[in-house]
């Protein structure tokens, strides 16, 4: 209902051509996650004359970062939950609790699923990913209550947690990571370690098999040596060529079929391939890959001008799909949008990403990079970046676990505080 009054307020503004009101430029942000919440806040911080509207259907946002700690049994879902009150109260952002059906680039309008629409001068879209239910035999939306992906945090995370809690000791957990590109490249492997942390305490005879579509994965050497150190042989990883590639999911039999035969699981965490969130498809912002091509100097769509796409949905050169990438792109794009609204050449700057991954509550590793533009492409800044050292001792891993929590506290405050 708050949504409706905000919409009509905007329409009222658009309808009255008084000089003062007409001078206010409207930026609409679709999606209140890592990209969208950050973009909305920084637009207002950097230009308090802008009118910023944030469209987000959920009352509460659960962060995917740290949702694996919920599975590991040492964080509660309530500790990764955020609302939008601060953004409206302290930053004057119009938060509309609604789903955007599509954007119309030529009329510069957002159309909501309830049929309402309003105008914008520029739009920033950060809808995240959608799961592909059309690609794998036997996998469809109807089975997510039996085989949760938990790749969007919230109910699905709790369901997977419940299945782990109810599993017999000596059971098998199958984790099936998707093919590139997908949200959070090291995420499935962090998950494996933290599920092992839970099982080691409560169901120590159990096993985790990772059946991977890929031949290698992010921070692989660090993960595999850490797992062995912490969990012995509880976790086994199979690359695509050694029986990891999945041909069919069988929810009835609780099994998956690989090129090497049938693998049964007491708990199956099949993480499907992904593409840009639905609104990007509905608005014609995707190319044949299912992701959104953008001018990497401004994150403006190369298909529809006036619409900027950031975060997981965007094709962002060398940057991986992560929360910190989305946050960094959000600020970068807020600057570009303000410059472009003022008919200035957009000023560009560096971008950054870091992904912390836990292997246990006091054991974390990281990968970091700085990015900048080389011509019109985002590339890694030479000399920067890399992963945690392979030979570091436990005190370094513990320090990274403390800083990972520090990162989480900072970035969530930067988005929602």
């Amino acid at each position: 209902m708050g949504a409706f009054s905000a919409v009509s307020a905007l329409e009222a503004v658009a309808g009255y051509p008084t000089p003062l009101l007409a001078a206010k430029q409207q930026v609409v942000v679709i999606g209140g996650g890592f990209g969208g919440a950050t973009a909305a806040k920084y637009l207002r911080l950097m230009d308090s004359n802008l009118q910023v509207t944030l469209v987000e259907p959920k009352r509460y946002y659960y962060t995917c970062p740290f949702s694996n700690l919920v599975l590991g049994g040492y964080k509660d879902l309530s500790e990764i939950r955020y609302g939008y009150d601060n953004l409206s109260r302290y930053y004057g952002i119009h938060v509309i609790q609604a789903t955007a059906a599509r954007l119309n680039a030529s009329s510069k309008k957002v159309i909501l699923t309830d049929g309402k629409s309003f105008s914008y001068n520029r739009a920033i879209v950060s809808p995240g990913v959608d799961m592909r239910f059309d690609k794998m035999e036997g996998y469809n939306y109807g089975i997510v209550n039996k085989i949760p992906h938990a790749w969007k945090a919230g109910r699905s995370t709790l369901l997977l947690k419940k299945q782990l809690v109810e599993m017999r000791d000596g059971g098998t957990v199958l984790i099936c990571p998707p093919d590139q590109p997908y949200r959070c490249p090291p995420g499935p492997y962090e998950r494996a370690g933290l599920i092992a942390h839970f099982l080691k305490q409560h169901k120590p005879r159990s096993k985790i098999l990772i059946l991977d579509a890929k031949e290698q994965f992010a921070k692989q050497a660090l993960f595999t040596s850490g797992w062995e150190q912490l969990y012995g042989h509880m976790i086994e990883w199979f690359p695509g060529s050694a029986g990891g590639k999945i041909l069919r999911v069988d929810a009835g039999e609780m099994a998956v079929e690989t090129e090497f035969g049938i693998e049964e699981g007491d708990v199956i965490n099949f993480i499907p391939d992904q593409w840009a969130g639905q609104i990007a498809h509905e608005s014609g912002l995707v190319d044949e890959s299912g992701w959104c091509p953008v001018d990497q100097r401004t994150f403006e769509s190369t298909i529809h001008p006036g619409i900027h796409i950031i975060g997981d949905a965007a094709i962002a050169g060398a940057m991986p799909k992560s929360g910190l990438s989305a946050s960094s792109q959000a600020k970068f794009t807020a600057v570009a949008v303000i410059d472009m609204l003022n008919n200035k050449n957009p000023e560009t700057t560096s971008l950054a990403n870091t992904c912390y991954s836990f292997l246990a509550p006091e054991y974390a590793i990281s990968v970091a990079s700085v990015y900048h533009l080389s011509g019109s492409k985002i590339v890694k800044a030479e000399g920067s970046g890399g992963v945690s050292p392979i030979n570091a001792n436990l005190s370094v891993r513990r320090a990274e676990a403390i800083y990972a929590q520090g990162w989480y506290d900072s970035i969530t405050q930067d988005m929602f505080g």
């Binding site: 911080l45 930053y91 960094s328 700057t349 970091a368 700085v370 800044a381 520090g406 506290d409």
Partner: protein, 108 residues
């Protein structure tokens, strides 16, 4: 340390930050833009609510020295060496100008 962490509760942070405009005036703009990738870890305006050190208002000299040491591998770090190597000496000066200017701005 204890007092500092007490002071930096989220509520107080929000009160300090909320509504303080992030001025894009030309003199400080480059430093501000570069600082935007730091603040996802160090907090909005470099005011950290948690374990990562605060940068807000630290002296220009200290920031330059520390960042150059990180970059050269002369100062122990878990992650800053990998990050600092992505910036030129000029970038570092601009970033240091920005974060060190913040306290002054608040007093004004």
């Amino acid at each position: 340390m204890r007092i500092k962490s007490l002071l930096c509760t989220l509520a107080i942070l929000t009160a300090i930050i909320a509504g303080v405009p992030m001025s894009l005036h030309p003199a400080g703009k480059e430093g501000l833009l570069l600082s935007l990738s730091c603040t996802s870890c160090h907090g909005t305006y470099g005011l950290s609510p948690g374990a990562i050190p605060t940068l807000y208002g630290k002296s220009r000299k200290y920031l330059i020295k520390t960042l150059i040491e990180f970059r050269n591998g002369d100062r122990d770090s878990t992650i800053m060496e990998r990050i600092a190597k992505g910036y030129t000496e000029n970038d570092i000066r601009l970033i240091a100008n920005y974060f060190s200017s913040l306290t002054k701005k608040k007093k004004k």
